[in-house]
């Protein structure tokens, strides 16, 4: 019995997530460009915020009395960009990956020391997990790296599902997604058209279905992580879920969507758009001072992910219907 469990664990760790090196390398480039588009520059404003607003959670910045000076944030952002460029070109990919992950976590530690925390840890975590995966394009390819990333994704999603489960999202007396949409509609300066339409027309049973779907998706990811095939199916649904969140609430989970690409044959996506990647990176650098650029880039990433998922589903339906 124990032997069979060990065999299963070994199979999951060392075989299940065996991806071609060409796909890993393509994902590496995609990831580096996404890192620049979503995150550069980040939290340069922090140094000018009064220290009285500094209120850190337990973590890397707990020992500090206030935000660091501007030159620290500029240096961290500079290093982050350097590691992104190195990663894109595959120069010493393990060191570049770890450097990217560390600098992003340090920058985020400062950014999240004023009270608001975005739950984007999966993005820097992906760099750590894949550092030795062979995503430089050179052998050996290590499937366990991707397996750990899948596990991290599953655990992260489960921690999002747990408070929802404990808080009664599955109760028929509450409409949690509707509440969330309404809260954004009330409290945000603008509401996406999707949110306005949903609040105006969606019946309560549809809102309740969304409550269940959100919890099942988040809680199910950890189970799906045990098979690449299951995980891919779950991620297709997740891409549509993030698309829906963007269209109704206006939140772009681009960091998640970018990481999901690791589990798909990314070379097929990147190859036709190979010329677009450097263009996107250069555009991100050129427009990074435009205050809405990062939001635009994030929304674009989520929209593209959603469109690809939709295309895949339509293709699947067409194939199924064509079968005799």
């Amino acid at each position: 019995m124990l032997g069979r469990i060990n065999d299963s664990i070994d199979r999951w760790l060392f075989e299940e997530y065996r991806m071609p090196a060409v796909d890993l390398a393509a994902f590496r480039k995609l990831y580096a460009v996404a890192a620049v588009a979503i995150y550069f520059p980040r939290a340069l404003w922090a140094s000018s915020v009064p220290a009285s607003l500094w209120n850190t959670p337990p973590g890397l910045t707990s020992w500090m009395d206030g935000p660091p000076p501007l030159w620290v944030m500029v240096a961290l952002n500079g290093l982050f960009l350097w590691f992104c460029v190195a990663l894109y070109f595959g120069e010493d990919a393990p060191a570049a990956s770890i450097g990217l992950g560390v600098t992003l976590i340090l920058i985020n530690a400062v950014r999240y020391s004023f009270g608001k925390i975005d739950h984007d840890i999966i993005f820097p975590l992906a760099a750590f997990c894949l550092a030795f995966s062979g995503w430089s394009g050179k052998p050996p390819v290590r499937p366990w790296c991707l397996a750990f990333l899948a596990l991290a994704l599953g655990i992260g999603m489960f921690t999002a599902a747990w408070p929802k489960l404990a808080g009664g999202w599955l109760s028929f007396d509450t409409l949690a997604v509707k509440q969330t949409t309404l809260r954004h509609e009330l409290a945000s300066p603008w509401t996406p058209l999707g949110g306005q339409a949903a609040l105006a027309y969606a019946p309560d049973w549809l809102w309740e279905v969304q409550d269940w779907a959100a919890v099942l998706l988040e809680a199910g990811m950890i189970v799906a992580a045990f098979r690449l095939k299951w995980l891919r199916a779950m991620l297709i649904v997740a891409l549509l879920f993030h698309w829906g969140v963007l269209l109704t609430i206006g939140i772009a989970f681009s960091f998640n969507v970018a990481v999901y690409a690791a589990f798909f044959p990314t070379s097929r996506i990147v190859k036709p758009a190979a010329a677009m990647l450097p263009v996107a990176a250069l555009m991100s650098l050129a427009l990074c001072h435009w205050q809405n650029w990062q939001a635009f880039a994030s929304q674009t990433i989520v929209m593209l992910g959603g469109l690809m998922a939709l295309g895949y589903l339509l293709q699947l339906i067409a194939t199924t219907l064509r079968r005799p």
Binding site: F14, P58, G115, T174, A176, Q179, R183, L186, Q291
Partner: protein, 141 residues
């Protein structure tokens, strides 16, 4: 130690690390409020559990004492816009926009309860809407 053995050990340490993190967070208290039950039952009421009550924000003689709200200059446009974050409940408003009541809040009150305290605040939804709307309700434990 072979690579495979090391990887197995790392895998087996994952539940231990998760348990430790959970224990530490429980011990020191969550730094920010955990959303326990966002619910909607006909009005705009949200319930949150706050483990570390903290003061907040004053401006122009107005003060809002929520249990855990923070002013945060948001992103790169800090001179124009701020976000008052209450872990899920946040308002954005241009600083030069004085047309509405500050943060639209019409009244803010903390009432004692069996668990600790309940904070409620109301506001008018839009200028066309006359009835104040209960914007939020926080259970503070």
């Amino acid at each position: 130690m072979t690579e495979r053995r090391l990887v197995r050990w790392v895998l087996f340490s994952v539940p231990v690390v998760c348990a430790l993190q959970w224990a530490v967070v429980r011990k020191v208290g969550e730094p920010y409020p955990a959303v326990i039950m966002p619910s909607f039952a006909g009005d705009a009421t949200a319930e949150l559990t706050l483990l570390k009550p903290t003061l907040v924000f004053t401006r122009g003689g107005n003060e809002i004492r929520t249990a855990s709200a923070y002013q945060l200059f948001d992103g790169q446009d800090m001179g124009v816009q701020y976000t008052l974050v209450n872990h899920g409940l946040h308002w954005r408003r241009k600083l030069d926009d004085e047309a509405r009541d500050w943060l639209w809040a019409k009244s803010v009150a903390i009432e004692p309860s069996a668990d600790g305290a309940i904070l409620r605040w109301t506001r008018e939804y839009h200028s066309s809407e006359k009835q104040p709307v209960c914007l939020g309700e926080l259970t503070i434990r």
